[in-house]
Every structure is written in C-alpha cells, then in structure tokens.
Amino acid sequence: MQEQSKAKTSSKIDVKKIFSRLGPLLALVVLVILVTIMSPTFVSPANLLNLLRQVSINAVIAFGMTFVILTGGIDLSVGSILALSGAVTASMLASGFAAPLALLAGLVLGAIFGLLNGILIAYGKAAPFIATLATMTIFRGATYVFTNGNPITGAKMNSSFLFQFMGRGYLFGIPFPIIIMLVAYGVLFVLLHKTSFGRKTYALGGNETAARIAGVRTKMVTMLIYTISGLMAAIAGIILTSRLSSAQPDAGTSYEMDAIAAVVLGGTSLAGGKGRIFGTLIGALIIGTLNNGMNLLGISSFYQQIVKGIVILIAVLLDRRSSNNG
C-alpha cells in the first residue's frame, strides 16, 4: 500500500520535472511562433543567424553566471570585466603585440578578476552581491583610467586577422561568435553535468554545510566558479571588441542584468542548487528573440524594455507558483 502511494508520487514528480524542464523551451517555441506570425521575415536564415550572433555575447556571460547562481551567489561585475579585459586586449593589439598574446592576456586577466571576486566571497566572507557590486565599480573605474575615457581603436588592431575573426568571421557560413557560444556551451555543459566539479557546484548551492561535511572544499569550488564567470565575461569582451573594432570604456554596461535574466528565465533558482545550463541557453534565446522580434516589428526600444521586464516577471511568478506547489 505504502509502496504504491510512493510510486504514485514519484511518477507525479517526474511529470512535473519534465514540465519544469521544458517550460522555458515551450515559452521560446510559443514566442517564435508569435513573432513569425507577426513578421514572417523572422525565420529567414539571415535573420536567425543575426539573432544568434546578437545572442552569443549575452549567452556566453550567462553560462558563467549559471554556475554562480547555482551556488546561490551572483556576479554583478561581469559587464565591467568585459570592458576592462576587452580594453587591455585592444590596447595591446594597438601597440603592436601579436594577436594570440593579446587575446590570451585579456582572457587571463578576466579569469584573475573573477578569482578576485571568488577570494573576496570565499575567504573575505563578503556577500556575493556586495562584493561584486564593489568590484563592478572598481573594474569600471579602472577601465576609464586605463582608456582615459576614450575608445581604443587603430589600424594595427584591425589588421590582425585572428582578432577580426573573433567577432566578424564566418566558419562554414556561420558567424564565429555563434561557434564560440556553442563551444562554450558544450564545455560548460560537460563541466556542470559530467564532472565531479559540477556535482559539487550543485551540492554547494543546495546546502553549503552539508556539502562541506561531505568533504566538498567549498572555498575552492567558490573561487573556481567566480573565475569561470570572469573568464566567460572576458571571452564576451573579446567578441564585442572585435565586432565593434574598438574597445569602448562603457562597453558591457548593465550586461550583468541580461545575463541574470537569461539564467532566471531558464529556470535556475536564485536560491541556488537548482537549474540547468540548457535552460540558460534557452533563456538567452528568449531575450534575443524578444529584442529581435520587437525590432522587426518596429517597436520603440523604450517599449522593448518594458516588455522584457514584464516577461521576466511572468517567468519568475510562474516559477514560484510551480515550486510552491511542489
């Protein structure tokens, strides 16, 4: 009797699990259908590739943010890290350094900035929101100092094929940023779902004390996670700098919000412990489709923000309802 009732609840849970996993995907499909009805050009290959390329920067940042949010943290400094590491790469290129070296420097720097966040949070015991709010301001300030407040550009910078290729190249007809996004997705998907590090990420977010007692080195995991987030922001920074052929000191401002929105739309809980990187990919696509669709429909960018905000609210409210029921 008891066995039976248990079996019943577990099958119920499965249905709900599937539904909550597919929820964001369902929302995306509905959205795509709606936009297509209103503006058939939406589904043209050219527009879709364009959309994906637009999405790639936010998606790459959001993948890193997924790890952070899974631990119950937040990283507000990603936009500033993007700008600062982009500026360093650009300035190295402009002063004649070889492209591979300049790119590597930008990436390493982004990772170091992320590590710094991690140290503040793991060892300084700073609340992630406050710690990264502070470093967000510091890194942004440092970008202005470094660039003197002017965009970095120049002939030498644009003569590097490798650098150009990052944001503007095509591989088999597909814009290279999309490839970067897919590779980043693949790597981080494996890291999250197939390695022990990924398991520890979930454990840390689900119950830090229990994770520590089960032998998870929680400080180490926290530092690595913020390092990943910094690195992903730097990758996005390189894509953006290459797309614009210049490093803007105010690049990436408020990108952290779009990244957080993508993670949350993808069903990851801000309380940590629950969520999937697939959801984040879908969340980024939802935001991209909204932007792209509203542009096609000629909706003013002022209204676009309102619509985006409302969509995020609806998603969060629906998510709350389903988790309360469970």
Partner: protein, 500 residues
Amino acid sequence: MKIEMKKITKSFGANRVLEGVDFTVESGEVHALMGENGAGKSTLMNILTGLYQANSGEILVDGQPTTYSGPMEAEQHGISFIHQEMNNFLEMSVVDNMFLNKELRTKFGLMDNKAMREQAAHYLSLLGAKLDVEQPIGNLSVGRQQMVEIAKSLMTDAKIIIMDEPTAALTETEIDQLFGVVRRLKEKGVGFIYISHRMEEIFEIADKVTVMRDGLSITEYATKDVTMKQLVKDMVGREIDDFYPDRTPDHGPVAMEVKGLTENGVFKDVSFTVHQGEILGFSGLMGAGRTEIMRAIFGIDKYQSGEILLDGKPVKIRDPQDAIRHNIGFLTENRKDEGLILEDSLHDNIVLPSIDGFVKHGLVDDKATDEFVRMLMKRLTVKAMEPDVSAGSLSGGNQQKVVLAKWIGSGSKVLILDEPTRGVDVGAKREIYDLMNELTDRHVAIIMISSDLPEVLGMSDRIAVVYEGKITGILDGKTATQESIMTLATGGVEEHAGAI
C-alpha cells in the same frame, strides 16, 4: 500567587507528551523541575503560559480556573518565562530590547526615550546590575543578558518567573550572582519555576523539586528530604527491554585515539580510544559538548590543542575532506541542515563524499555511481523506488539510512554517529541498530553520541560520559546503569563509577 496545574494532558498528533501531570508553585518559593530531555518539562511550561492548550486538565491561579491566550497575556498576569534561548536582538540596545513592543510614549505619541532609560536602569539596579543601557545587548555576556531578562520580568511585575536552564551558559561567578538575585526576589515574594539538569544547583537554590519522566510527574519532594541518588533514579527509572539486538563484539586493535583534545570554553582535555569493531557510546546532557568534540575531530571546527591518532599514527585533520580521506565518517545530529541536500537526489547525496573516486578521464562515471548507489540502497533497505527521487521526500528513517549509505560508501573505518535514531520510527531504529552491528562485525569502529539512555546502554561496548566539556568517566557497557551514567552526566560523583 499560587498556581496549581492539575491532571494536565497534552498530545501532539498521536504523540502523547503529557499524561495527567500535577504541578504546583507559589509566591516566595523556588520549585525545581527536573527530567531528561523530552520528559515534557517545556511543554508543561508552554501550557502554563498559554502557548499550547492542554487537551484536558485544569490550571488554577489563586483558586480560579484560568487559561491564558498566550505568553503575552500570561506576562500581563504576572507569569513570565525566561527561555534558554533569549531571543534578544543583539544589535539593538539594552533599553530597546527591554521595551520592545511595550514602548513608553510621550503625550505626542513619540517614544519617551528618557523615561524608558530611567526605568530600565532602575529595574537593573534592583538586581544590583549597573550597566550602560544604551549599549547593544550583544556586548553583554550571557549572564548579564540573563539579568536584563529578569529585569524585564520585574518590569511587568512578575509574580512567578519560569527559568529554563538559566545557568547553561553562565560562569561560576555569574551563577552566584544569579542565585543572589533569585534569593533576594524570593524574599520579596516572587516565585520561581526552575528547570535544570544540574543536581548541585537544585540542592543549592530549590525549596521543592518535581521530577518528570516520559510525560508523567513522578514525585514532588521538599529538597531537604531527598537525596541526589533518589532524584537520578526517578529521572531514568525505565527498564531496558530486548529492543536492542545482541552484540557479540570482537574488538581489534585501536582504530582511533584522541589525546588531550582542548578548545577553550567548549571542551577540555578529552582523551579516549575506540577499537576496531567497537561501539563507544557518548552520553551526557544536551550542551555538554559531545557534538562539539566530534565536530573538531572531523575537522569542521578548530581545536586549540590535542592529538588524533589513527591506527597508531598521528594525523592532521584540517577539514572534512581530510577526515574523509582518513576514512572517518560523520552522521550529524541534524540531518536536514547538515546531513543531506534535501532537494538533491538520493544518488547525488550518497555519492557526494566519494565522488572523486568515480572520475574517469576527468568525467564522472555515471554508470559506476548508479551501480554503487543501488548496491548501497539495497544493502541498507532504503525504501525508495529510484535513486533519483529527492532526499527531502523520504521519511526520517529512510533519510537517516541515506546518510549512513553515504558514509558506508565512502569507506569509513571510524564512523561517528550523532543521535543516529533521532526522529526515526521504531522499525527503522531496529534496522539501524542491526546495521551498526553489521558494520562492527566488519571491524568498523563506531562512536555513537546519544541522549537516549536505553539506547546507549543497549548498544555500547563502553560508554564515555561528558559533563561540561570534560569526560567525567568511561564506563563498561555491561555494568553501567542509567543511574551511574546520569550521576556522571550531572556532575555528581559516584564511588563505584570507576574509569576504565
């Protein structure tokens, strides 16, 4: 004021907590209430102050049947309850804490800070406590906070003050001060209900003592007419049935030795050994420091000095990961907060301490972990259909088995079990006991902390008793009795409680 509680009965669901309890207290006396954890003392007091309603029985206040709607109303009628956890707002000032929710106001409706400061200082000075009432209450020692709490009761004109384990966190001097205040107030006609485990305090301060056991009030004595021995006997007075499986221990060499482990103010000079295949019970009252000792051994908390030896070799354990690497496992007292990640699956919970052993070419071998988990679930008869259900959806007994599976899976050779059967139903209890026997048959050394005396006596080969952070004796499990344990656990000395 005279309070008579008559034939009080209370059940929570199917769980009967109080059965026809009688208890009386009057102004000008200190009436001690004793009993093991779970004997029903707190429930009885919560019924008196109106937090719970009794299922039957009556409360007479000065002869009139009375029930209070809640602690607020009880307080207004002169009965105040000083809880063990004082629930102060540590960042707020002493005076703000004292007047919380009963602030004095000026005629313009604003807070009358001056009057509140004066009153607070006045009542504190009645207790002989002079302190700056505007400092945050968190700056005060626990003893001083207790004084503030009593001052608060006086402010509401309390005639009966209930104190729950008031000395648990006090120093000797603070206890003396507290007793001075209690005596002075007693002379002024205040009555006290004094809940405590500590024998010597009862004999020092109480006029009467009532012992509760298993929801019954066993007896009421005048303190001068009773012995410590009699009280201990009344507190534990249960027979052990054959609920515990037979043990045929086959002890191997020493698996773990702890020497002189000390952390100031928490535990002191703790030394013991546990052999392969042995169950070493750890008994003592709540707050005696048993859990803290184990947390230090497992690397969760720090300790100042001392040494831990495994198989005769000294080891350095800096964090739980080190402990796990040395094949120590720790089932914590609080499985929901520390033992399990409730929203994660059984699979993920069980695998977590062993996860690094399942990595092949950088990736977790899912097939191997799945087999591992199914094997453990079968061995421990965890009643769940599939390893992917969430840990939070299981019953207490099954959750405890999942935590055990975790530590058995990680290859523990020394297994620390902190209250392994708390919140576990009778059937699952027996299964856990059988499992403990099975583990010791395989030469695992088990350290079992338990507040359940019959359990300690029924399962342990030896029993270490902890009182105020010190091991006051290590008894042989065969000859130990509830009385001999309780005597050591309450700081008493018994001649035939020889250490081994």
